[in-house]
C-alpha cells in the first residue's frame, strides 16, 4: 500500500510541475535537416522488403523472411536515430517535402513527411513492436508453405502504417490509412481457402471503407473551406473555421476513426478479424493499426478545439464502445475473441481520453502501454494455440501454467498490466484517464469518469476469467493435444513485450515524462481535481479487485463446463451474439441490399432494356403495318389519295370556320 501511495504522490507531483497550459500547434513546421532529411528511408526500407519478397517469387522463399525482419529492424534503428535527432532540435519538428503529388490549380498536395513528438512516438511503437512480431512470426509461421507472402504483407503493413503517421497532409495520411487497410485485408484472409476467413477480411475492408468515406468527406470539407489539405495549412487556419464546419469535419474524421479503430457502431469487424494468424492480431489488430483512429483525432486536435460538440461526441463514442467491448468480452470462450473485444474496449478508453481537453497525451500514454501489454497477451495466446493444435476454445484449456511456464509468465505480466495492478503499465495510464475524465467536472465528468471506473472492474472480471480458464484449474483438453512450450524465437519477443508491460507505465510517466514531450503537439491543460488522485487510485484499484474476486468465485471455485451453459441470463445471451450488432447489420443493410440489387438487375433487364426492345419492336411492327399499305393496288392508292384530300379540305374548312 505504501508503494501505491508513493506512486500516486509522484503522479500528483508530475501533474503539478507541468507548465500550466501548452497551446495546440499552429502548423508551423521546420524543414528537416541532417539525418532527418532521410526520413523517407523509414518508409522505403519496409516497402523495399515487401517488393523484394513479392516480385522475387519462389526463389526468395528461404531467405525472404530474414530480409523482411532485417528491413523492419533497420527501420527501427533508423527510427531511433531520427528520434534522437529530433530530441536535439529546438522546436522538435522536422518536415520534409518529397515531391508535388497532386497539383491542380488551387489544390496543391505535396507528398511530405513530418516528424514531431507524436509521429516519432508512433514510429518507435510501430517499428519496435513490429520488429518483435516479425521475429515471433519466424517461429509461428515456420511450417506455412506461403510464409514468404506473410512476411511480405507484414512489411507492406509496416510501410503503410509509417506513411499514415508520418504523412504531413490529410491525403498522405489517407494513403497510409487505406494501405494498412489493404495489408489488414491480405493478412486476415491469409488462409483464404477457408471461406469464413475470406468473409471476415472482406467485412473488415468494407466496414473500414464506410469510415474512409467519412475521412474523405472531412478532406473535401477542409479543401472547400480552407483551400488546403496539408496539416500546416489546416491547423494554421483552424481558428478561422465556423463552429458548424468544424463540427462537420470533426464528426466526419470521427467516422473514419471509428472504422479503423473498431469503435461503435463500426466495431463488429474487429473480432472477426481474428481469423488472421495470431501475430497479425497482435501487431495490426491490437498494438498499431487499430489505434490509428486515436492518432487521427490526436493529430486533428486543433480542429476539435473549435468544436466542443465534435469533441463531446468523440468522448461519448469512446464511452459506449468501452462498455460494449467489456460486456461482450465477458462471455466469449474463444481466447482471441476475448482479447479482441478487450482491445475494442481499451481503445474506447483512448477515445474517451483524447476527447478531454488537455488529456490527449494520456490517451497516447494508454495507447503505448496497451501496445505493449495487448501485443504481449496476443503473442502469449498465440503461443498457447501453437501448443494446443491451434485450438482457441478456453473451455478446452485449463491447467496450462505447468506445461507453458514462460507463456504463463508473459501472459500474467500482460494480465496484471491490463487490470491495472499497482505499478504495472496499465495502472498508470488507466488511472490518469479516469482522473482526467473526472476532472472535467459536471455531468460530463461524472458520466465519463464513472463509466471508466465501472469498466475497470469489468476488465478485471473478464481478464481473470480468461487467465483462470486457460492456465488454472483442471485440464479440459481434447484427447489429441500435447501442449508444449514454444521455441525461443517466439518466447523471446514475448518476454521483451512482457518487460514492457511491467515497466512501460512507470518509465513513460516518471522517467521519460511522455506528457510533457507530447504537449507541443496535443496540448496540455492544468485543471482542478474533482477527486484527489490518490482517492481515484484507491477507488479504481478497489473496483478492479472486486472484478477479479467475482471472476475467482465464478471460475475458480466452480468447475468450468466444457460446453458453454445454455441457461444463462438475457444479457449473456445478447452478449454472446455481439449484442445483436451483426444481426442488425444483416437485417438492415445486407438483406435489403441483396433484394435491392436483385430488383435492380430485373429492372435493368426488363425495364430499361425492355423499353429499348419495346421501342425496336414498335418501330418494327409499325413499319410492318406501313408496309401493308404499299400493296400495289391502284384502287387502294386512290382511296388513300381521296382520304387525304378529304382531310385537307376538312382542315381548311375548320380553319375558315375558326377564323
Amino acid at each position: 500500500m505504501s508503494l501505491l501511495l508513493s506512486a500516486a504522490e509522484r503522479t500528483t507531483r508530475v501533474l503539478a510541475t507541468e507548465s500550466p497550459a501548452t497551446p495546440l500547434p499552429t502548423g508551423d513546421y521546420l524543414t528537416a535537416s541532417g539525418s532527418l532529411e532521410l526520413l523517407w528511408l523509414l518508409v522505403a526500407l519496409p516497402l523495399a522488403g515487401a517488393a523484394v519478397l513479392l516480385l522475387g517469387g519462389k526463389r526468395t522463399n528461404s531467405w525472404g523472411p530474414y530480409v523482411a525482419i532485417g528491413a523492419c529492424g533497420a527501420a527501427f534503428l533508423y527510427g531511433l536515430v531520427a528520434f534522437t535527432a529530433l530530441l536535439g532540435l529546438e522546436d522538435r519538428t522536422a518536415q520534409t517535402t518529397l515531391y508535388s503529388w497532386v497539383p491542380v490549380n488551387q489544390l496543391q498536395v505535396d507528398f511530405g513527411l513530418l516528424l514531431d513528438p507524436l509521429s516519432a512516438t508512433f514510429v518507435l511503437l510501430i517499428t519496435g513492436v513490429g520488429f518483435l512480431i516479425h521475429v515471433y512470426s519466424l517461429g509461428y509461421m515456420a511450417h506455412d508453405p506461403r510464409r514468404r507472402l506473410f512476411f511480405a504483407y507484414l512489411n507492406l503493413f509496416v510501410a503503410a502504417m509509417l506513411v499514415l503517421v508520418l504523412g504531413d497532409s490529410y491525403l498522405a495520411l489517407f494513403l497510409g490509412w487505406e494501405g494498412v487497410g489493404l495489408a489488414s485485408y491480405l493478412l486476415i484472409s491469409f488462409w483464404f481457402y477457408v471461406p469464413a476467413y475470406a468473409t471476415a477480411a472482406k467485412k473488415a475492408f468494407i466496414m473500414n471503407r464506410v469510415g474512409d468515406v467519412g475521412l474523405l468527406i472531412a478532406i473535401f470539407l477542409m479543401f472547400a473551406s480552407l483551400g488546403t489539405t496539408q496539416f500546416s495549412g489546416v491547423f494554421e487556419q483552424a481558428e478561422l473555421l465556423t463552429a458548424g464546419t468544424a463540427t462537420a469535419i470533426g464528426l466526419m474524421l470521427l467516422l473514419g476513426a471509428c472504422g479503423k479503430s473498431g469503435q461503435f457502431p463500426l466495431h463488429t469487424w474487429l473480432p472477426d478479424a481474428m481469423a488472421g494468424p495470431t501475430p497479425v492480431s497482435a501487431l495490426i489488430h491490437a498494438a498499431t493499426m487499430v489505434t490509428a483512429g486515436v492518432y487521427l483525432i490526436a493529430r486533428s486536435l486543433p480542429l476539435y478545439e473549435v468544436s466542443d460538440t465534435a469533441r463531446l461526441v468523440v468522448g461519448i463514442i469512446g464511452a459506449i464502445t468501452l462498455v460494449i467491448g467489456a460486456v461482450i468480452g465477458c462471455v466469449y470462450d474463444d481466447i482471441k475473441k476475448v482479447l479482441a473485444y478487450s482491445t475494442v474496449s481499451q481503445i474506447g478508453y483512448m477515445f474517451l481520453a483524447v476527447a478531454i481537453p488537455g488529456a490527449a497525451a494520456v490517451a497516447i500514454l494508454h495507447l503505448l502501454t496497451h501496445g505493449f501489454f495487448k501485443a504481449c497477451m496476443f503473442l502469449s495466446a498465440g503461443s498457447v494455440m501453437h501448443g494446443m493444435n491451434d485450438q482457441v476454445d478456453m473451455r478446452r484449456f485449463g491447467g496450462l501454467r505447468k506445461e507453458m511456464p514462460v507463456t504463463f509468465a508473459c501472459m500474467t505480466a500482460g494480465y496484471l498490466a491490463i487490470i491495472g495492478f499497482p505499478l504495472f503499465a496499465g495502472f498508470f495510464s488507466k488511472d490518469l484517464i479516469i482522473e482526467h475524465a473526472l476532472d472535467q467536472g459536471g455531468v460530463r465528468g461524472w458520466a465519463f469518469g464513472l463509466t471508466g471506473i465501472v469498466i475497470a472492474g469489468v476488465t478485471g472480471f473478464y481478464m481473470t476469467r480468461m487467465m483462470i480458464m486457460t492456465f488454472f484449474g483442471p485440464r479440459r483438453w481434447t484427447e489429441d493435444v500435447h501442449p508444449h512450450e514454444s521455441p525461443a524465437v517466439m518466447t523471446v519477443p514475448m518476454i521483451v513485450l512482457a518487460v514492457g508491460s511491467v515497466i512501460s507505465g512507470f518509465v513513460l510517466v516518471h522517467v521519460a515524462d511522455l506528457q510533457s514531450f507530447l504537449a507541443p503537439v496535443v496540448g496540455s491543460e492544468e485543471s482542478d481535481h474533482v477527486l484527489e488522485p490518490i482517492v481515484v487510485t484507491v477507488i479504481v484499484t478497489a473496483v478492479s479487485a472486486l472484478g477479479v474476486f467475482l471472476a475467482y468465485l465464478q471460475y475458480a471455485k466452480k468447475p468450468v463446463p466444457t460446453t458453454a451453459p445454455v441457461a444463462v441470463s438475457a444479457l449473456t445471451v445478447a452478449a454472446r451474439r455481439n449484442l445483436y450488432f451483426d444481426s442488425l447489420n444483416e437485417s438492415v443493410l445486407m438483406r435489403p441490399g441483396q433484394y435491392l440489387t436483385r430488383a435492380l438487375v430485373f429492372v435493368d433487364n426488363r425495364g430499361i432494356d425492355g423499353a429499348v426492345h419495346g421501342l425496336a419492336a414498335g418501330i418494327g411492327g409499325g413499319s410492318g403495318r406501313l408496309r401493308r399499305w404499299q400493296n400495289g393496288f391502284v384502287r387502294s392508292y386512290a382511296l388513300s389519295m381521296f382520304g387525304g384530300a378529304a382531310l385537307v379540305v376538312a382542315a381548311l374548312l375548320v380553319m375558315r370556320l375558326g377564323a
Binding site: V104, G227, H613
Partner: protein
C-alpha cells in the same frame, strides 16, 4: 520539330500495318500477328516521342495541321491536340499493343495448345481460313438494313436469359475465323481512335466517330461470344441513333456559323460563335445524347453489358477503355466550349444522371453472375464519375475526369484482360463456375486483385487520384452530389471484393474439364498485363506528368465555358466579408 505532322503519321502507320497484315498470304497467321504487334509498338514509340515534344505551357492545340477537304462546306482535314486529347492518344497507343499481345490466340484458340509448333498450327488452320475467308458476320446488318422489320428480328431477345447465358464454348470447331482479319481490324480501329481524338474539325470528328463503329462491329459480330450478333447489332443501332442526332446538331452548327459569316466546322472558330440559348440547348442535346450513348451514361447504358460481355476480350478492352471515352471526351471538348450556356443550364440535370449512374451501375455490378457483364457495369459506374467530373465545372473535377479516362482505361483494361485469361482456361464467364483459383494460380489471382483494387480506387493506385480529384472538385460546387457519389466507393469495394472472394478465394473448385489443375499466367500474359499494373502504380504516386498537360487544357475549356473555380469559403483565402 513542330513541323512534323505527328498526328497524321500516327494515323497512317497503323493503317499501313493493317493493309500489310491483310495482304499477307493465307496461313501466315504468326507473321500477321508479329507485323501487327510491331506496327503497334512503332505507334507507341512515335507517340512517346510526340508526347515528349508537347509543350504543356505552349499553344492550346499543338502539332496542328489543316487542309481543305470539302471547300464548298468549309470542311477541313484539321488535326491538333490539346493536353486532353494527347493523354487519350497516349492511352490508345499503350492499350493497342497490350491488347494485341493478350489476344494472341483469341482468333485461333486451337493454335495455343500447339504453340510450340506454331507453324504446324498455322498450316492446319489454313484450309478453314480459305473456306471462310471473309466470314465476318454481316448477316444481321444486311438483313436489318434490307428488311423493314429487321430491327425487331435482330433485337428479339435470344432464347437464353440474359442473366444466365450458358457457359461459353471455347471455339466452335465448325467456324474458323480469319486470324489476320482480326489483327487488321484492331489496327484499323487504332487509326480511327487516334483520328477521333486528334480531329479539330467537327465534321472530321463526326466522320471518325461513325467510322470507328465499323471495325468494332465486325470485332464483336465475328469474333465474339455466343450472342455476338445480338450484341453487335444492338451496339450498332444504339450508336447510329446517337450519331444521327449528332449529325443533325453538326449541321445545325454549320447553319449557325454560316448565318454569322462564313460557314465552318473548325473547332476554334465555332467556339467564338454567339448562339442564342434555345438553339444552344437544342444543339447541346444532339451532341449530348450521342456522347451519353457512347460513354454510356445512365439510362443509355444497356448496350454496354451485352457488347462488353460478347466482344472478344481485346475488343472489350478497346471498347470500354477507349471507344467509350470518346463520349466523355466529347462532353469536355464539344459540349462545354461550344454551348457554354446550355451546359451551365443543363449541367445540374446531367449531374443527377451521373450520380444515379454511379450508384446504379455499382449495385447492378454486384448482382451480375457473368464476370464480363460485371466489369461492364462497373464501367457504367465509373463513367458516372467521369461525367460528374466534367459537369461539376471546377478545374480539379475536370482534370480528375480526364485523368479518370486514362486510369479507367488502364484499370478496366487490366481487369478485362485478367478475366479473359481466366475464361480462356475455364471456358466459362460465370462466377459460379470458379472458386479458390488463388490456390492453383496465385499470379493470376494476384493480378486480378491489383486490377480490382485499382477499380475500387485504392490510394497508391492511379485511379484513386482521379476519383479523389473528381469528388473533391465536385464537392466545392455540389456537395450533396459529391457525398452521394462517395457512397459509390463503398459499393465499389463490395462488388470487387465479392467477385474476388467468389472466384479466387475459398476451397478449390474449377470447371470440370480442368479437374484440380489450372495453368498460371504464362510469360506472354504477364508481359501483356504487367505494363498496365506498373503504370497504375507509377501514376498513383506520381500523376504530375499527366496533370501538367491536362490542367492547362482544362483551364482553357473552363474559360470557353465561362466558369471559374469557387474560392475557399473560410480561412485566409476567403472573401473578406466574413
Amino acid at each position: 520539330m513542330s513541323d512534323t505532322p505527328w498526328l497524321t503519321i500516327l494515323m497512317v502507320v497503323p493503317l499501313v500495318g493493317a493493309l500489310v497484315v491483310a495482304a499477307l498470304p493465307k496461313g501466315r497467321d504468326l507473321l500477321a500477328k508479329q507485323v501487327a504487334l510491331l506496327t503497334s509498338l512503332v505507334v507507341l514509340a512515335l507517340t512517346i516521342v510526340m508526347c515528349a515534344a508537347f509543350e504543356p505551357t505552349g499553344d492550346r492545340f499543338q502539332f496542328a495541321q489543316a487542309y481543305d477537304w470539302i471547300p464548298a462546306f468549309g470542311v477541313q482535314y484539321a488535326v491538333g491536340v490539346d493536353g486532353i486529347a494527347l493523354v487519350l492518344i497516349a492511352l490508345t497507343a499503350v492499350l493497342v499493343p497490350v491488347v494485341l499481345l493478350a489476344s494472341w490466340y483469341d482468333a485461333d484458340p486451337e493454335a495455343e495448345s500447339t504453340a510450340g509448333v506454331a507453324r504446324g498450327a498455322a498450316a492446319r488452320t489454313m484450309d478453314s481460313d480459305q473456306a471462310h475467308a471473309t466470314s465476318p458476320d454481316i448477316g444481321p446488318l444486311v438483313e436489318s438494313a434490307a428488311r423493314s422489320g429487321g430491327a425487331t428480328a435482330v433485337l428479339e431477345r435470344p432464347a437464353q436469359d440474359a442473366a444466365n447465358p450458358a457457359t461459353v464454348p471455347p471455339a466452335e470447331p465448325a467456324r474458323r475465323r480469319s486470324v489476320k482479319t482480326f489483327f487488321a481490324l484492331l489496327l484499323v480501329l487504332e487509326t480511327m481512335m487516334i483520328g477521333v481524338f486528334a480531329a479539330t474539325d467537327v465534321f472530321l470528328f463526326y466522320v471518325f466517330f461513325e467510322a470507328m463503329l465499323i471495325p468494332m462491329y465486325f470485332l464483336i459480330g465475328s469474333y465474339g461470344g455466343p450472342r455476338r450478333s445480338y450484341a453487335a447489332v444492338k451496339f450498332l443501332l444504339y450508336s447510329l441513333v446517337g450519331g444521327l442526332l449528332m449529325l443533325a446538331a453538326v449541321i445545325g452548327l454549320y447553319v449557325v456559323s454560316a448565318s454569322q459569316g462564313e460557314g465552318t466546322f473548325a473547332f476554334e472558330q465555332l467556339t467564338e460563335l454567339e448562339i442564342s440559348t434555345p438553339v444552344q440547348i437544342a444543339l447541346f442535346s444532339g451532341f449530348f445524347i450521342a456522347f451519353a450513348i457512347k460513354a454510356p451514361l445512365f439510362p443509355f447504358h444497356t448496350w454496354l453489358p451485352d457488347a462488353g460481355a460478347e466482344a472478344p476480350v481485346g475488343g472489350a478492352v478497346l471498347l470500354v477503355g477507349i471507344l467509350d471515352k470518346v463520349g466523355t471526351f466529347g462532353f469536355l471538348r464539344y459540349c462545354l466550349p461550344l454551348f457554354p450556356e446550355a451546359s451551365r443550364i443543363l449541367g445540374p440535370y446531367v449531374i443527377v444522371l451521373c450520380v444515379i449512374g454511379i450508384l446504379y451501375g455499382a449495385l447492378l455490378a454486384m448482382g451480375q453472375k457473368d464476370l464480363k457483364r460485371l466489369v461492364s457495369y462497373t464501367s457504367v459506374a465509373h463513367f458516372g464519375f467521369i461525367g460528374l467530373g466534367v459537369f461539376a465545372f471546377t478545374s480539379q473535377a475536370q482534370t480528375g475526369a480526364v485523368l479518370y479516362m486514362v486510369n479507367h482505361g488502364l484499370s478496366t483494361g487490366a481487369l478485362f484482360l485478367v478475366i479473359g485469361f481466366l475464361i480462356v482456361r475455364g471456358r466459362s464467364r460465370m462466377t459460379a463456375d470458379y472458386s479458390g483459383v488463388a490456390n492453383v494460380a496465385p499470379i493470376l489471382a494476384g493480378t486480378f486483385l491489383i486490377a480490382g483494387l485499382s477499380s475500387l480506387a485504392l490510394p497508391g493506385l492511379s485511379t484513386f487520384i482521379s476519383e479523389f480529384l473528381v469528388l473533391i472538385g465536385t464537392y466545392t460546387r455540389y456537395p450533396v452530389a459529391a457525398v452521394l457519389s462517395a457512397l459509390g466507393i463503398i459499393l465499389a469495394a463490395l462488388y470487387i471484393l465479392l467477385a474476388y472472394q467468389r472466384t479466387m478465394q475459398g476451397p478449390l473448385r474449377l470447371p470440370s474439364h480442368l479437374g484440380e489443375r489450372m495453368r498460371d499466367l504464362n510469360l506472354r500474359e504477364v508481359l501483356a498485363v504487367a505494363p498496365l499494373l506498373a503504370l497504375m502504380i507509377f501514376l498513383g504516386f506520381y500523376p504530375k506528368p499527366l496533370t501538367d498537360v491536362i490542367t492547362p487544357a482544362v483551364d482553357a475549356t473552363m474559360q470557353d465555358a465561362g466558369v471559374s473555380d469557387p474560392e475557399p469559403t473560410q480561412g485566409r483565402a476567403a472573401a473578406p466579408t466574413r
